[in-house]
Structure formats: structure tokens, C-alpha cells
């Protein structure tokens, strides 16, 4: 197909950024979530409040951090608190409206795995582990998931529930403060949990992507929403701001 003028990663970040509303309090992980959250801050949501688990609150990094604790995040923050405090007083207390998460696997009920592929005791692949994700998934008002889509990453049931979506049985989230995953942004489209049974459904495909391509990249029989849409393509402004941000970042980190 013809070059759409943007990459799959770019439309992922741009569509994720669009999910954030101005002034929202957002708990951000490193990588694509951080890129998307800062893109939102630099475009339609200048007042978004970004919190990183290193304890930096209301930070406005000029360049994207490579680690969750880059000095840039502390220098540009409204305040910096300890790690015990960021989790107890800020995340757990319900001050975070939106949490951004990624993972190695997601299942049909939005449960996330970042612990192991295979058996826990004898893993095929030992992944980094939980970090702050389980409490973000539990306590944030809602969770936005960003994950490149393939049969390997979108599985019927995750090998390990590191962070809860709607549970292995999809029953729901009793005992959890937040609403859980409300949207999953991939390089192919956008999925949302159905109101009935919480199973993720395809609600939007990115320009040039066929719904069946998305189904083929999913480890279960993916349902299409009745209002299946085509994603608004990236605007020139979105692309320019994102590319400037990544260019600044690359220069600041010496191309790293």
C-alpha cells in the first residue's frame, strides 16, 4: 500500500495522545506512553498534569526521558516526592485520572502480562516484572493501553496476570478503585471493552488497515464493533510536533 506519510508508531502515539483531555492528571510509564502523553501536552492538552512513578509530579520535560527517573523530569516538575509517597498519597488515594500502560501480552479481557512468558517457575522468557503497573491498573480512574498488535501480544488468555483488566473471567473489577482499561491503542487500530461482557472489540481501524488484518493479528476471534470506524489520520500539526519532540530527544540523548 502507498506510504501514508507517517509510521505505525507515529499513529499509535498520536491516537493515544488524543485520548487525553486538557487538565487531566495522568500517570505515565516510560516509552510510547511517555511519548503520547507529552505529545498531548504539546498539542491540545497544555494543562495535562504528568506524574512519573519516580516521584515527579506536574513535570514538563523538554525532551523525552529515556528512563523513568531522568534528571529532566525532576528539574521540570512542580514537586518531587519519594517513591513511597507517589504510590500512597497520589496513586492509591485516587488522584490519578488516567494511567498509561503497556505490556508484553494483553488478553481479551484487558488483563496485562509483564512478568513471564510460559510457566512462572520455569519461564520461557523472564520479563522485567510488575513495576508500578498493577497499582496503576487498579487505582487509576481509567487505563489507556498501548501495545503493538500481533498474535503473540494479543492472546486469548495471558500467561500471567501482572495487572488486572476485567479479570481472567471478564467478570469485572470489584474491589478496584478505577474503571480499568477503557481503550487499547495498537499500530493497527483501536479496541474498547464491550459494555456487556468486557471483551475487547475493534472500534476503529487506522487508515489503510483492513479489519480482517487486525483480526488476523489477534489471538482470539476478535469482534468488530457495529460502529466500526476508520481512525482520523494524523494531522500535520500532530506529526510536526511529534517529530520535533523526537528530534529534540535524539539530539539531547546523543542519538541514543
Amino acid at each position: 500500500m502507498a506510504d501514508p506519510g507517517y509510521t505505525a508508531d507515529e499513529i499509535m502515539s498520536i491516537v493515544a495522545a488524543r485520548q487525553l483531555r486538557d487538565g487531566q492528571v495522568c500517570f505515565v510509564g516510560i516509552g510510547l506512553p511517555s511519548e503520547a502523553a507529552n505529545l498531548a501536552r504539546l498539542t491540545h492538552a497544555p494543562g495535562v498534569i504528568l506524574i512519573y512513578e519516580s516521584g515527579t509530579i506536574g513535570t514538563r520535560p523538554v525532551v523525552l526521558p529515556l528512563s523513568i527517573g531522568d534528571g529532566e523530569l525532576a528539574e521540570q516538575a512542580d514537586l518531587v516526592v519519594s517513591v513511597p509517597e507517589i504510590f500512597a498519597y497520589w496513586l492509591q488515594a485516587g488522584r490519578v485520572e488516567v494511567g498509561f500502560l503497556s505490556a508484553a501480552q494483553i488478553d481479551r479481557f484487558g488483563n496485562l502480562n509483564s512478568t513471564v512468558i510460559g510457566d512462572y517457575g520455569t519461564p520461557q522468557v523472564r520479563l522485567p516484572g510488575a513495576g508500578g503497573a498493577p497499582e496503576i491498573a487498579s487505582s487509576a480512574g481509567e487505563v489507556i493501553v498501548m501495545l503493538r498488535q500481533s498474535k503473540r501480544t494479543f492472546v486469548a488468555e495471558v500467561d500471567f496476570v501482572t495487572s488486572i483488566g476485567f479479570g481472567r473471567d471478564g467478570a469485572g473489577r470489584e474491589g478496584h478503585r478505577g474503571a480499568g482499561p477503557t481503550v487499547v491503542i495498537t499500530d493497527l487500530g483501536v479496541l474498547r471493552p464491550s459494555a456487556e461482557d468486557h471483551e475487547l472489540e475493534l472500534v476503529s481501524v487506522h487508515p489503510g488497515i483492513e479489519p480482517d488484518q487486525v483480526r488476523a493479528a489477534t489471538g482470539w476471534e476478535l469482534r468488530f464493533s457495529e460502529q466500526l470506524e476508520t481512525t482520523e489520520p494524523p494531522t500535520e500539526v500532530e506529526l510536526r510536533v511529534l517529530r520535533d519532540l523526537k528530534e529534540r530527544t535524539a539530539q539531547a540523548h546523543g542519538g541514543a
Partner: protein, 290 residues
């Protein structure tokens, strides 16, 4: 009262085989030089505790210092896997590694309980995850209502090892910026070893979140400029992102890893050898092209 000493003596005096050792620093202020000294002195059977194992524990695990790892996120930040950690967990190389894993919030709650002299801490978390079946947590019902909370056992390491920006000559330690869990781990541990960028006449905490550990809560302090590399010390050094990237290649191959460790750590007299190699650009030469 804190004793100002060499790094060698501080580790020799306070870190022993079989200890539970917590070397903390959340991305910032990671005590790399102290970790190298523990390896150099050949400590064994350690229970290593750290929220984010990072390169420092990848090195200690790869060199066989650890019998057990207690952690919450074990990756190379912004790069990928910790290959020595994975090799130990997946293949038992160089020796099997018992793991106890938690969430960040769980580890923070455990250190806080330890610093507070409580047997456990309470939080909302773990519920509905498979971690519940593989780690030490319990459910406690509120005595004032129906609500349930998650309890995690207090962490009280034998020794805490941290890196800070400054200490004064009386042994008061000062740090700022992203201070992570360092105050809690120091106050939770039986012994406390601190490396600092600089010993000063008077603490001059020039950044956000200034934090002081009074001399009488610290056992040993060693001045080790740039002792947190490849992490950083706000106000003194910047993070060496390139080294983290290069570490992926160095640590991926067992032989390469051992050659690197021999050249810059076990075969070196002290941390200066590492810093000299850093300065002359040879620290990553084993994987640098031409």
C-alpha cells in the same frame, strides 16, 4: 555516628556473606561503585533487595554474589532485558537464583513498614493478579468496616547501601532530586553504608526534595566521585544512556560479560580503573565497533 572511610573498608566492615543487602536508588543515585566493591571482595550467598535491579544487580548476579533476589522490576531501563538476571532465572547460570517479586508500591510499603518499626504495612494492591500466588502478601479486614486491604511484610535488610550527593565532615548525609526509597531503606536497615560525590564542610542541598540522613543514623561514608555511573547524581553528573545501551551487548554474552568484569572490576584495584576507562573511552571498547 557515621565513620568516614574508604569504600574498601566500608564494605569489608559492614557487608558479609549471607547478608540481606539493599542497594537502592530509583534510576538516580545508584551505588555502582559500592556494588563493584562487593563483587571485588567476593561476597557470596547474598539476598539482594532492590526495587529495580538494573545493571548493578545484573553484574552482581552474573558474578555469583546472590542466592536470592527480592525486587519489583528487573530490566535495563529504556533498553530491554537484564541478560545476567535472565540467564540466572531461565538457566540457573552461574547458579540458581531464588526470586521473590513484588510491585513497586508493595516494595515501597515494605520499606516504609521497616523504617517505622512495624511488622507489616498495608496498601491497596496485588488483588486480582497472579502475583498473589507467588509472593508474600495477605489480606486484612478493616476493624472499622467491611473494607479489605493488602498486607505486605516489613523489610529490614541487614545493610543498606546508597549513593548520595554530599556528606558533611560530621557524617550527615544530604541528597536531593529523585530520592526514591533511600530514606526508608536507610532507616529500615540494621547498618547503613553511603557513598557520596563530595564531602563538604556544610551540606548545600540545591535541588528539589532535599533530604538529610543525620550522622547517627549512618555507619560508614566513603567519598566516591561519579560512584553512581552509569546512573547519575543530580547536580554532579548526568546519566550515561549510551552505557546502558552498550550494557545490553556486554551482558548478552557470558564470555564477554566475564571479560568485561575481569578487566574493570575484579581485576581492578578500585573504582578509579573503571573511571579511567570511562574517561579514555575504552569502558565499552569490548563491544564498540573499531
Amino acid at each position: 555516628m557515621a565513620e568516614l572511610s574508604t569504600l574498601h573498608d566500608a564494605i569489608a566492615k559492614h557487608v558479609f556473606d549471607g547478608d540481606t543487602v539493599a542497594m537502592e536508588g530509583f534510576t538516580h543515585l545508584i551505588p555502582t561503585a559500592a556494588g563493584h566493591e562487593v563483587i571485588r571482595q567476593g561476597r557470596k550467598d547474598l539476598t539482594l533487595v532492590r526495587m529495580t535491579p538494573d545493571v548493578i544487580y545484573d553484574q552482581m548476579i552474573g558474578m555469583g554474589c546472590a542466592a536470592k533476589l527480592v525486587f519489583s522490576w528487573g530490566g535495563n531501563p529504556g533498553v530491554g532485558s537484564l541478560h545476567r538476571l535472565r540467564d540466572a532465572v531461565e538457566n540457573g547460570y552461574p547458579s540458581p537464583l531464588e526470586i521473590e517479586e513484588h510491585t513497586h508500591a508493595g516494595m515501597a510499603t515494605r520499606y516504609t513498614a521497616g523504617a517505622s518499626g512495624l511488622p507489616f504495612g498495608i496498601m491497596h494492591g496485588y488483588t486480582g493478579t497472579d502475583l498473589v500466588d507467588h509472593t508474600r502478601v495477605a489480606t486484612v479486614r478493616s476493624p472499622f468496616g467491611e473494607e479489605e486491604v493488602t498486607a505486605v511484610p516489613a523489610l529490614n535488610p541487614d545493610v543498606a547501601v546508597i549513593h548520595a550527593q554530599q556528606a558533611d565532615r560530621q557524617g550527615n548525609v544530604g541528597m536531593w532530586g529523585i530520592v526514591g526509597v533511600q530514606r526508608e531503606v536507610a532507616l529500615a536497615s540494621k547498618r547503613v553504608v553511603v557513598t557520596v560525590e563530595e564531602v563538604v564542610d556544610e551540606l548545600d542541598l540545591r535541588g528539589p526534595s532535599p533530604c538529610v540522613l543525620p550522622s547517627w543514623t549512618v555507619d560508614a561514608i566513603a567519598e566516591v566521585p561519579r560512584g553512581s555511573h552509569p546512573s547519575y547524581s543530580m547536580g554532579y553528573t548526568v546519566r550515561d544512556n549510551n552505557f546502558y545501551t552498550k550494557w545490553d551487548a556486554i551482558s548478552r554474552d557470558r564470555d564477554l560479560f566475564h571479560r568485561w568484569m575481569e578487566r574493570y572490576v575484579t581485576g581492578a584495584e578500585d573504582f578509579d580503573v573503571y573511571l579511567e576507562a570511562l574517561d579514555d573511552g575504552t569502558l565499552t571498547s569490548l563491544v564498540d565497533d573499531g
